[in-house]
């Protein structure tokens, strides 16, 4: 659902956002606030990210405006794709920070009167997120040496957060996750033997029990702000849920999100460092086979998302966008990785 419904904003988005944001900041935070250096960081009509400088006299700070789409109304029964509202997303990040997890610091949550739709404003964090730069730029070589360890500690802290403090999170069992993703797949007329194999394999290996925890669900290179000291901030909390926490380690180790880096953990570090750090920080032994299960399942989910994006249509029945259509041709990659994880190569 597009954010931009106002025709004035569509015509001059920069000015419209500047005006509305200034009004919002003065209303919520500081009647003398000025907004300068307003830059749009991301493209697209859905989730919009802007950076800006908030000044009052001599005091200036860099901040982020995040505008969020409403979660789509989903037809039918069965588990939903978790998608937090702006207010829930902000509440989860506040909870994370309260538990020592580096998440964006929320300054305010937008309301209807602000005229910007749902969203929130956070402190800006300096660093990069671009996957290829994180895994290979010389400037981050020292950071890469410690990032797997940091990731283990951060994930353990996320998984130690009390789920009851975030009652808005959907709980999804492994079986729920499979039901949900299979339903998404069956909405498309696709007959791919490796997809079918993978669905059956996951079904045959579903875990019966897990340590019910808060799960980020998209903890990976690309969603982490990194500087020369390592991981500074964890972004993109909006698909968080309750479930088996080891899926977060599985996602982090997916080859697709290594952006060409050699390290199995995020492209930046070793699996061993990640596992050892997570065990130390969580105070529990790590079920490595369970992590492999979730890594395989994460590959299946990404493959199903390649199908959905590759077949996404615009109102004219043509491909919704070049970028989405192109993602359809990445289907073979996670399916190859799935087979690598679950079957030894004998050829």
């Amino acid at each position: 659902m597009p954010i931009i419904e106002d025709t004035a904003e569509a015509a001059a988005p920069q000015q419209a956002v500047h005006t509305a944001l200034t009004r919002a900041m003065r209303r919520h935070l500081d009647p003398d606030a000025q907004i300068t250096e307003l830059d749009r960081l991301t493209g697209g009509a859905t989730k919009q990210t802007w950076a800006f400088t908030l000044t009052n006299g001599a005091h200036a700070q860099r901040m982020i405006l995040q505008r969020c789409p409403e979660p789509a109304r989903q037809a039918g029964d069965g588990p939903r794709v978790p998608r937090l509202s702006a207010a829930e997303d902000a509440a989860l990040m506040r909870l994370a920070r309260a538990h020592g997890v580096p998440a964006p610091e929320v300054c305010l949550v937008l309301d209807d009167a602000d005229g910007l739709g749902p969203g929130y404003v956070t402190q800006h964090v300096t660093g990069i997120t671009l996957g290829r730069a994180v895994v290979r730029d010389a400037a981050y070589a020292r950071a890469r040496e410690r990032m797997a360890t940091q990731a283990g500690e951060i994930l353990a802290a996320i998984h130690a957060m009390p789920p009851q403090a975030a009652p808005f999170l959907d709980g999804l069992s492994p079986a729920d996750e499979l039901r949900l993703y299979t339903r998404l797949l069956r909405a498309h007329a696709v007959q791919h033997p490796v997809l079918e194999y993978a669905v059956r394999w996951i079904e045959a290996h579903l875990p019966g029990q897990w340590q019910d925890s808060i799960v980020h669900a998209d903890f990976r290179t690309g969603n982490l702000i990194v500087d020369e000291q390592g991981i500074r901030c964890v972004l993109d909390w909006e698909i968080a849920r309750r479930g088996d926490p080891l899926q977060d380690l599985g996602v982090l180790c997916m080859r697709t999100w290594r952006f060409g880096g050699a390290g199995h953990a995020g492209g930046f570090g070793s699996r061993e460092d990640l596992y050892a750090s997570y065990e130390r920080a969580s105070g529990r032994g790590l079920d490595v086979d369970r992590v492999r299960f979730w890594e395989a399942f994460a590959n299946l989910k990404w493959a199903i998302n390649c199908v959905r994006r590759g077949l996404a249509q615009g109102p004219d029945g043509r491909a919704a966008s070049l970028e989405l259509a192109a993602i359809g041709r990445r289907l073979g990659e996670p399916l190859w990785d799935f087979l690598d994880i679950v079957t030894p190569e004998t050829a």
């Binding site: 059956r200 970028e323 990445r330 289907l331 990659e333 990785d337």
Partner: protein, 116 residues
């Protein structure tokens, strides 16, 4: 043999080369990013055209049949040779969509991607 010259893959590659060598370097930001996607898409289509032209076959039909047998449960997951067959399906698919995803085949080759 087609009377059309040049062949479709040559035309597609010419478009890709124009975008990559001449147009993309003049662009920034969003359009530069989209132009790179366009180049990769065109190269994929050219590879698909060449593969279909040189190795026409019924791989697609066989894959559909295999998919149906897996979906309806008539084929067991541990059927001998199944994993190898699935890998062959993906090899052909990746040869078109992303030839760099799978490393050289020889296990002894130092360029082979690390084992999982």
């Amino acid at each position: 043999m087609s009377i059309a010259i040049p062949s479709a893959d040559v035309l597609i590659t010419a478009v890709a080369d124009y975008l990559e060598r001449e147009l993309a370097p003049t662009l920034t930001g969003y359009h530069r990013f989209q132009a790179r996607i366009a180049v990769n898409v065109l190269k994929t289509v050219a590879r698909e055209w060449r593969l279909d032209a040189t190795q026409p076959g019924t791989e697609g039909d066989a894959a559909h049949v295999l998919a149906e047998q897996l979906r309806d449960g008539s084929l067991a997951l541990d059927t001998p040779g199944l994993a190898d067959t699935l890998r062959d399906v993906l090899r052909r698919q990746l040869a078109v969509d992303n030839p760099t995803w799978i490393g050289p085949v020889t296990p002894a080759s130092p360029a082979t991607p690390q084992p999982r």
